[in-house]
Symmetry: C2
Subunit: 506 residues, 2 copies
């Protein structure tokens, strides 16, 4: 049970935590839909694809779909999907996807009962208790990557945790990739807005892994995090990014942002139909680009507050939507992406309970990958350092829960129960002494001391303790090993491309 070994990092300057390991589903998923309801959503999604279709704003993607057997209306850019042909294509996608980091030990399966978790991605703002809320910077991005590297509960970089707003927009993806290559040896994520950013990620992966296109395609390194524009639109730039990475054999995940009451019908059922239609269409396109390319069913169903129009996250509807999405993805034999979300403006009780609602939805829904796993605040507008630590605690706890219980005669300890008898205690029994070090989950930031000790230590709430732990961790961060020649080659590539971009644009 080495998995539960841990020590409070803030007490020791050495972070002891559960090892970097893939999580696995040992229990049956929670199913909130009947098989008939899953069939109803499936049938309705196919109806939508046949009758309404998807507006595909990229000409190349439309050609591919036309050649693939679908009806295209060039005037409206709408593609109408024959149900049988869609399902034929969706069946080509494997039920398990994998990615890998620079460290050969950091290889992840997604699907088939395996779960991987990535850090927050794409936030425009960053916050911490000391410096407050501000636009993201390259320095913040690097700090978030360092924490992602250090914390074993995070399996993957988040896909640019926070926008480095202090860098030029057209070339900052190169700085993000370079940071990912050098600050972490975990899998990292490419950007899919346009073909050029996607190509740069592939080129840099080839340098980082010292591999060629075929090797990257045979054993993918990337999972995309991208989206349709719900309802029923695939943006041109995103289509180009997806096609570039699909042709390179990387793992594609397209997530409709199906906000019930706004971009989707005002019911979870309606949002599930749109989400499914957009996933089936995206998966079909990906299979036309490269048959057998891994595709992950992207799910992100929430709703707007119908009184204010604000988006809500981590609600009961979110939990149900995640669990239902899992059932639908399994119906297609596809891995399934979920998230860890909250609308809270502070790393407080609301942030924790909304995140828990979404995480339990993802985990009992048998998510294959949880994006935005740690650090998400304010509906994704902010990457919060404190929230990242709090989320990692929750992820560690859920990882320990997923391992289940050992129940056999040795674990039960009948001899100890007999020896102690009525009214005794178990502190000194051999059964206890043999096991106590690793018997139970050890927390990262939870404080279990009594009120007097807690008060004496400054009455620090969870967010304050998380802030301090961040500081301690960043002080002890060590860069993963990288052949200096590879580092130079990466830097040279970035310099060359920046020069090209400054001359010709992206």
């Amino acid at each position: 049970m080495a998995r539960r070994t841990g020590r409070r990092a803030s007490q020791s300057n050495t972070l002891v935590q559960p090892p970097y390991r893939q999580l696995a589903n040992n229990f049956a998923p929670v199913e909130v839909l009947s098989p008939e309801q899953v069939e109803r959503i499936h049938a309705s999604a196919l109806d939508v694809l046949e009758d309404v279709g998807l507006r595909v704003m990229d000409a190349e993607a439309r050609s591919l779909l036309r050649e693939g057997g679908f009806k295209v209306d060039e005037a409206t850019e709408q593609v109408f999907f024959d149900a049988e042909r869609v399902m034929e294509l969706v069946k080509l996608a494997p039920d398990v996807a994998s990615v890998r980091g620079k460290d050969p030990q950091k290889r992840l399966k997604m699907g088939g009962g395996h779960l991987a978790i990535s850090a927050v991605g794409g936030a425009p703002f960053v916050s911490d208790l000391q410096r407050g809320r501000r636009a993201g910077s390259h320095a913040d991005l690097c700090d978030l990557m360092r924490l992602t590297q250090m914390l074993n509960a995070l399996h993957m970089e988040g896909g640019c945790s926070v926008e480095p707003c202090d860098l030029p927009q057209d070339s900052r993806h190169l700085d993000v990739y370079l940071a990912a290559c050098t600050l972490t040896d975990k899998p990292w994520k490419p950007q899919t807005v346009g073909a050029a950013r996607a190509r740069d990620s592939l080129e840099m992966a080839k340098i980082l892994h010292q591999e060629n296109n075929d090797q990257l395609a045979a054993d993918p390194v990337f999972m995309t995090t991208t989206n349709t524009n719900t309802p029923l639109v695939l943006d041109a730039e995103i289509a180009q990014g997806v096609l570039t990475l699909a042709r390179a054999g990387q793992v594609i995940c397209v997530t409709p942002f199906a906000l019930s009451g706004a971009m989707a019908p005002v019911t979870v059922a309606g949002a599930l139909v749109l989400q499914t239609a957009e996933n089936l269409a995206s998966c079909a396109l990906v299979q036309l680009a490269r048959p057998g390319c891994p595709y992950i069913y992207g799910s992100f169903i929430s709703n707007v507050d119908m009184k204010s129009g604000s988006p809500a996250f981590g609600t009961p509807e979110y939990t149900l939507g995640a669990q239902a999405s899992g059932q639908i993805a399994r119906f297609y034999g596809l891995p399934f992406r979920s998230s860890n979300v909250t609308a809270s403006n502070a790393p407080d009780a609301q942030a924790a309970y909304e995140s828990q609602m979404s995480l339990w939805g993802a985990i009992t829904g048998h998510a294959s990958v949880i994006n935005q796993g740690a650090g998400w605040l304010e509906g994704g507008l902010v990457a919060s350092f404190e929230k990242l630590i709090i989320d990692v605690e929750m992820l560690q706890m859920m990882g320990a829960w997923m391992e289940g219980l050992v129940v056999d005669d040795v674990a039960i300890g009948m001899d100890a129960i007999r020896d102690v008898g009525p009214g005794g205690h178990f502190f000194g029994t051999a059964h206890t002494l043999e096991r106590y070090r690793d018997a139970f989950y050890t927390p990262l930031v939870s404080d279990w001391s009594n009120f007097e000790n807690w008060t004496e230590a400054g009455a620090k709430d969870t967010s304050v303790r998380a802030h301090e732990l961040c500081q301690t961790l960043l002080k002890t961060y060590e860069k993963p090993a990288l052949d200096p020649a590879i580092g130079e080659e990466l830097e040279a590539y970035v310099a060359k491309r920046k020069e090209e971009i400054s001359r010709n644009g992206l």
Copy 2:
């Protein structure tokens, strides 16, 4: 979907919330034990009862057990339980228990897929943001009862939410009962320390309901919250309280406090065995006192932090223990009690995520009753006003989750999807306009406003908003109707008993 109707109470001075209603399990429970593991725990518990036995410190209870067919060692007070006979008795307990409040609409089933939730009980301290942490008082107790009465997510009073430490110890139970009779019309809980306190609760229930002993027994009003002294001791005073209420046909729940590594083996498996043994013995005793008396399997498995000796709550082990306890209780056809717990010293992120870990364990474990459902802080040392509100929000959310989804053609809204088409929005569709008022969960204390609005409103975190909501609610509290003659009769009983107690002791 009127259930989801709600409005922020703090905005309106009128609390609009989901109605007072029984929760029901619509989804399959999460099972963390294999059937063989359940059998192993069952067999081990019977071994413990046969070989080690239970120390029963009350002579009357020992006589009952001896007459019931069990071997008793009077020198050690140990009772050894024949396995077959225990199981014969346990089978007499029904699989569903019920209690009722003064309001005939407030009738609760526990078991058979029904779930009831009670407020915090038994805390020696109380806290709120304004006045801090302090010893409990009668005024605090009354305020907590008022909130329990107002908040529909709480089905039952908690069994003295906080000790009124400003009242004499020997008679304060009378003040607690009087407060429960007059401040709430929900079911309330008797005290089981000694026969006298239990008898007083029955006498006051007879006055409150204007019923006789037979009527109370035929349709119980009380569920006990009491405990064994794990490992394997039944205290004399508790035995007397339990026997008094069992003979009166009330619902008995005995909960071993099986803290792994201290009073139970250092494994969850070992704690489950002790917990099961103590429940089976307690249930057998109850059946001997009154065959067919409702008995609820009490579960409260947690562990001590093996580094500091502090108890931990809401850990992964707690979640697993709750789900496993549910499986074991269902194996015996007994309803099952779980809890909402945290070790946090403040109503912060830790309090929320530990509570969520325990609530998800209880709810997916198909608990029949969740005690300590709202307000528990510091491992039960404190009843927190803010935590009570935060917990009610979480309970409301989980209640909405338990209701599941409507998935049919009408809910899906195919016409709306067709009408909106690619790139539109659903704000103005007929499908949305017909449903938007009650479409989604409406929060109690969660704040979904954006950062700018939240900052302008004072940047209040969840605990501050919860504090303000408490103040608003207490200002608008109204006493439930009670026949003044009954009120006078209750007061007269309390006065008479106080006089007797001051003269002769309890």
